[in-house]
């Protein structure tokens, strides 16, 4: 090549390279959360959701859901974290109505809001919502600022306070980043149900596509009374409850 590289050529070449590298690099990042079948891309035609009927759910069911989540996603065996430092992707709550005294137990996890405050506040786009409504943290982008934890109305997120060992292959976690319920995205993308839902052997917890008129969750929600926690915030949660 006899021609010397002039400035314009240099800029052309280098920008093409940059775009190329950026494309590949973003591809690598995305693979973590991409739907695994290429013919089934994640679209906004679906909206994954969960309906939890607290009248049908026993306390043992809820404990089972918590351990199923721990087992599936590998949290809960941290050795150094104490008290509130321990990660909690899902927890059992017991609430009492101030007027009637009625006590209800329920599992509480990320509510997979349509308008998630955690996504709004995240400075680096690490907190994100997939097209199908699943709210996730991209562990590659999270800088550990914990602003999402301040913004979440459901206390649903945990910060990893220590070095982790023995992680699940499908669920990478990392010291200094924030994590929460992923709705078992790795299972959902394989047409399976989330671990907590599978652990309850009844229709007390229904998982499915809220938009699909033929789905069990859609039809049940049309029939029964249901509620969203902090519905006043108008976040349109994907997790719904009946019986509270």
């Amino acid at each position: 090549m006899s021609k010397t590289l002039n400035r314009r050529d240099f800029i052309k070449t280098s920008s093409a390279t940059t775009v190329g590298v950026a494309t590949i690099a973003s591809g690598i990042t995305l693979t973590t959360f991409a739907a695994n079948t290429s013919d089934n891309p994640v679209t906004s035609e679906k909206r994954w959701g969960m309906l939890i009927d607290t009248n049908k759910l026993t306390e043992a069911n809820i404990d089972g859901m918590v351990s199923a989540c721990q087992q599936e996603n590998g949290w809960g065996s941290e050795v150094h974290s104490t008290g509130d430092q321990k990660p909690t992707w899902v927890k059992k709550l017991k609430v009492q109505d101030k007027a009637t005294g009625k006590i209800t137990s329920l599992p509480l996890m990320c509510q997979h809001c349509e308008e998630p405050p955690c996504v709004d506040v995240c400075p680096t786009n690490a907190s994100m919502k997939r097209e199908d409504g699943i709210v996730l943290v991209d562990k590659h982008l999270c800088i550990g600022c914990r602003y999402c934890m301040m913004a979440c109305p459901y206390d649903a997120r945990s910060f990893v306070h220590e070095e982790l060992t023995d992680q699940r292959e499908h669920m990478p976690r990392g010291k200094g980043t924030v994590e929460s319920c992923t709705l078992c995205v790795h299972k959902v993308d394989n047409n399976e149900t989330p671990a907590c839902v599978a652990s309850v052997n009844s229709d007390a917890v229904i998982f499915g596509d809220l938009y699909d008129a033929n789905s069990n969750i859609n039809q049940t929600l049309k029939k029964v009374q249901s509620a969203q926690i902090r519905a006043d915030l108008d976040l349109n949660t994907g997790v719904r409850y009946s019986g509270i």
Partner: protein, 399 residues
């Protein structure tokens, strides 16, 4: 009269003692960061309930004070008060130094400070944190240009325009800092737009208190004349700012009490929150506001440098306490998740927090970084007028 600026000599024993003391604090802070990052945040008092601890208290305190420290320059360039003009260079320097100290603490308390580059390259424009990154970086650039225009004789004529830009920018910046809390819809302790103007007025008070202390100390230690005209004026202004902060605090709490949803957290802070209630009344209100105002306005203490210094120091301590109550107290009280219901198990109750030594050292390290930067830069560049005696600063002053 022309003002002559001169570098400090910086050869005295006191200078080296000051640098060494601050250097030790900075080294300790870096050691603390290494310790916390190596082990993870479990070695701190922070948790998933108190996600922002004492480092955020110091970081936001310094960032808020930084924008306020620039006010002295703004009074000269935007509001054309001649007496403040000789103070403008120092005002810009203190602003930059405090911001640098605050940002250092903020960044080093991240879960992944090594990923700072991501924060600089990936922006979510809906995030107030992302805006703040732009606002902080912009502040450095704008104030640096402003300082250059003040230093460079040929550029002097533009300095008042640059001052206006810097003043506007700093108002937006503190609005951004206050809005970190003001826009948190989920939290009863924060969700109030008054946070933004309250942070601005807090910045006026904290920034000026820092400025007064640094001004008086540097003139005393370099044995340069500093007249009562300047000091009395700054002191009076500090008193006004402290009163204004109290006004905003009253309005914020009254407005918040009016909402039934917020009654719980307001009662917690104001009446039955244990350490937070005590910090509020004894720390923020009495120690940090009423006593400084008495020290400033009591006729017997007029032009008394020691009591003004003490008042400024108390304003700063009160400021740290105020941010502690806002940040820690606001998180300690549980989220109102089920209106009309009481949570018996699984969540709720007051979250406990005890600041660990390393995180406190990191916070104090931020102040040390700011002070060491100022100490060095006044030695390298002519920031300080060689005299601020009454006849220099204000020819019409009647002593």
């Amino acid at each position: 009269m022309n003002i002559r600026y001169e570098e400090t000599q910086g050869r005295s024993l006191g200078f080296y003692a000051l640098i060494s003391g601050l250097g030790i604090l900075i080294l300790a802070a870096l050691g603390a960061v290494y310790y916390m990052e190596h082990h993870g945040h479990y070695v701190t008092g922070m948790s998933n309930r108190i996600v922002w601890g004492i480092p955020h208290v110091f970081a936001l305190f310094l960032i808020v004070a930084a924008s306020g420290a620039l006010n002295v320059a703004s009074i000269a360039s935007v509001f054309h008060k001649k007496m403040y003009k000789p103070l403008s260079r120092l005002s810009g320097l203190v602003a930059l130094a405090l911001l640098a100290g605050g940002l250092m603490v903020l960044v080093l308390d991240l879960g992944r400070p090594d990923r700072l580059i991501i924060a600089m390259t990936e922006y979510n424009f809906k995030s107030i944190f992302a805006w703040n990154i732009i606002l902080y970086n912009g502040f450095f650039v704008i104030v640096a240009v402003y300082l250059w225009m003040m230093f460079e004789r040929r550029m002097n004529k533009f300095s008042s325009k640059a001052g206006l830009v810097a003043f506007s920018w700093r108002l937006i910046l503190t609005t951004g800092t206050g809005s970190i809390f003001g826009f948190l819809v989920a939290r009863q302790a924060y969700d109030a737009v008054i946070m933004a103007p309250m942070f601005i007025i807090m910045s006026f008070a904290f920034g000026l208190a820092f400025f007064i202390l640094i001004l008086m100390a540097s003139y005393k230690w370099t044995e340069r004349p500093l007249g009562d005209a300047v000091v009395d004026r700054l002191g009076n202004l500090l008193g006004v700012f402290v009163a204004a902060v109290m006004y905003f605090v009253v309005v914020k709490h009254l407005g918040s009490l009016y909402l039934a949803e917020n009654a719980g957290v307001e009662n917690f802070i104001l009446f039955d929150g244990g350490v937070y209630t005590q910090l509020f009344w004894y720390g923020q209100i009495i120690l940090g506001s009423l006593i400084p105002m008495a020290l400033i306005y009591h006729p017997a203490l007029k032009s008394n440098r020691s009591t003004l210094g003490l008042a400024s120091l108390l304003v700063l301590i009160g400021g740290v306490i105020q941010l502690y109550i806002i940040i820690i107290g606001g998180q300690a009280y549980p989220l109102e998740m089920f209106p009309g219901k009481e949570i018996l198990e699984g969540y709720g109750g007051i979250a406990t927090y005890t600041p660990s030594l390393p995180e406190t050292i990191l916070g104090v390290g931020g102040i040390a970084v700011a002070l060491i930067a100022i100490t060095f830069l006044v030695k390298i560049l002519p920031f300080l007028p060689e005299s601020l005696a009454n006849e220099v600063a204000d020819p019409h002053h009647k002593g």
